[in-house]
């Protein structure tokens, strides 16, 4: 299964070389195998599969949203406080920086939800093969861009 996933991804050359090396070493003998077997799995030489990148991004977006709740509460607090507050909140999200933060949070939330739904499907063993995870990851990225774009265009 592991070898298969490497084949599909076609990018973990380091590990495959290490695998080949250990095969050739195994012909030499157990004694040398102990000293020469590869121990350095340098993470920097790996290209991570797309599903792994989407997975870690799901976590990162979660942490960003944790902080984003404060922004949402602040903006809501301001907007419902009074008529003047509403105008101020509107100006806040019309300002380039505020717009950047809000659109960034919408993109972050969209990614987190779409990747989370993929997670739920995989809980039910839908799309949890290596190939499906690759295409599912592409779908997560495409959907995030499309939904964020559509929401952004509609809001502004």
């Amino acid at each position: 299964m592991l070898c298969r996933s490497l084949e599909v991804d076609g990018s973990l050359r380091g590990l495959r070389q290490a695998h080949n090396a250990s095969v050739s070493i195994s012909n030499i003998g157990v004694k040398r195998m102990k000293t020469e077997r590869p121990v350095n799995l340098n993470l920097l030489v790996f290209r991570f599969p797309l599903a792994a990148i989407v997975s870690i991004t799901h976590r990162i977006t979660g942490v960003i949203l944790f902080a984003g709740v404060a922004f949402a509460l602040y903006a809501f607090d301001l907007a419902v406080a009074s008529e003047q507050g509403f105008v101020a909140a509107k100006a806040l999200v019309a300002h380039p920086l505020g717009m950047f933060v809000l659109l960034g949070l919408i993109a972050t939330l969209t990614f987190h939800i779409v990747a989370g739904l993929k997670h739920l499907l995989m809980d039910f063993h839908v799309g949890d093969t290596v190939e499906a995870a690759f295409y599912g990851s592409i779908a997560v990225i495409v959907l995030t861009i499309v939904i964020t774009g559509a929401v952004g265009v509609t809001l502004w």
């Binding site: 976590r59 404060a70 509460l73 907007a79 419902v80 509403f86 989370g116």
Partner: protein, 122 residues
């Protein structure tokens, strides 16, 4: 590995289920909020207040905030116990992780009080 000094009678399976149950509350809630902002033309103060301070929305907002607290706590706890380990964060990792957890819980408590004050102000 995380060195667990205290052994709570705690089920990881319940965390797993709570994480998913709260996600299934927060996803439709997000659609609801986005739907409101996307379908309301010429948004003004009156429409905003009328929508958010109707009783159903006050209940939905309260439920969503409780879901956020549970969901975020499980997520942040998981990250802490994955990365703030002695192997990564040094021999003070247990202290650092505990402090990180206190900060997370403190922030979530402030969010909860703040949100409930906002939601039920009218």
């Amino acid at each position: 590995m995380v060195t667990r000094v205290l052994k709570f009678n705690h089920s990881g399976l319940s965390d797993f289920m709570i994480q998913r149950a709260t996600a299934m509350i927060l996803t439709p809630y997000t659609f609801l909020i986005m739907g409101f902002f996307l379908t309301t033309s010429e948004m003004d103060y009156g429409k905003l207040v009328e929508f958010f301070f109707s009783l159903p929305m006050q209940v939905a907002n309260s439920l969503a905030m409780l879901a956020i607290v549970a969901h975020a706590w499980i997520g942040m706890w998981t990250i802490g116990t994955d990365y703030l380990l002695e192997a990564h964060a040094g021999k003070h990792a247990n202290f650092i992780r505990s402090a990180y957890q206190v900060v997370c819980l403190g922030a979530l408590f402030i969010y909860l009080v703040w949100a409930f004050r906002l939601v039920w102000q009218f």
